[in-house]
Symmetry: C2
């Protein structure tokens, strides 16, 4: 019974790793579209988002079927539910990538970002994507040491997010209101994506080890 | 056994109704702080948010204990898990209210909103709060007819959100970049809050009746 439970849980974890890969690819594509004005990539990211929505549903169904068939005890129950929660988080990361792609599409053929902001946003995107990629490795390889390094990775993105806002809010911002609004939204999308990646890595440590970490109060919404 | 399960589930639903009341009160307070520059109220909303975080934890614990003791079958299992998901959604609504209050606090004693925008934002806030209040009634009174009217209520807020963005993005926006960025964020907070209220009402129909509605693809993140 215990072996069957573990095998089915491993299948859930395998699904989550594949979902995380999709969320990473989506944000990579969306960022490329944003930085290069590549309309086709933007549209592909938006269209592909439904794959992550479906994968979340499948993962949830699999977990619920596992619960119903195996009726795990309290600790295992929480582990399975953490996996369901993780799938939900990854789906939202995909939504955020689609929001970035939609911004690029809305402005096409005009660039969204003024040249001054491109390096900052590119760095922020890279930090966020690296965190998500690391969360994927934590899921796939049960790499708990890596989970520890991811743990505070969102703080770097939070600082970058603040820097973008300081630029936008400065008296001598020369790029106009519409660009400022777009950039503020984009910055928030990357910051939220990074937050989700970190909470995902934390949750997967719990799924893998059953070791609970103290909850962080999420500033998500 | 079945009666015990139902009684414990009813307790969960009772907790959710109380949580929803807190989320409504939080957004009412935050909006008052925003519109009147009332710093004390802004600080109270921000400080009180931890109550909703704790209530979510308690609700989750209660649901998990219910699952572990009663080991419900597949249908009931989903109902309990939908209640857990609902608690998560209400917590996020509280986070959004705290974000609104934080914006009011950050600009104090300056007003966040130019006079031109105050009626629009006040209307948007009222629509969002009414939706959340209705979701609370759906939870408390199992009012399925009301749930149907809430169903598309977020579309009104989406239109208001678009109107705010059209104003911000117009060539003759006279209020500067910092205000535009603040208003765009606030508008998004209300829009997300309304989305969550609608998804909450849908979920509670399921918790109450076990009748599943087709999932809506959430544009949340």
């Amino acid at each position: 019974m215990r072996t069957v439970f573990r095998a089915q849980l491993d299948q859930c974890v395998h699904d989550l790793a594949a979902m995380c890969d999709l969320a990473v690819a989506a944000m990579r594509g969306a960022t490329q579209a944003l930085l290069t004005g590549d309309l086709r990539t933007a549209e592909r990211v938006i269209a592909d988002d439904v794959q992550l929505d479906r994968a979340r549903s499948r993962c949830e169904d699999r977990a619920y079927s596992l619960l119903a068939r195996q009726a795990p005890v309290a600790g295992d129950l929480r582990v399975v539910l953490a996996a369901v929660h993780a799938a939900d988080t990854i789906e939202r990361m995909g939504d955020l990538a689609a929001h970035v792609a939609a911004t690029a599409r809305r402005r096409h053929p005009d660039p969204v970002l003024p040249d001054q902001l491109r390096p900052t946003v590119a760095t922020m995107a890279q930090t966020a994507i690296t965190l998500a990629d690391s969360a994927g490795t934590v899921i796939r390889d049960h790499d708990l040491a890596l989970a520890d390094t991811v743990e505070h990775g969102d703080e770097v993105v939070n600082v970058q997010h603040q820097q973008v806002f300081t630029l936008l809010m400065s008296q001598d911002w020369p790029h106009g209101v519409a660009t400022a609004v777009d950039v503020s939204q984009l910055s928030r999308f990357y910051e939220r994506y990074a937050d989700h990646a970190v909470s995902l890595a934390r949750r997967m440590v719990y799924v893998t080890t059953g070791r609970r970490r103290p909850p962080r109060l999420d500033n998500a919404a």
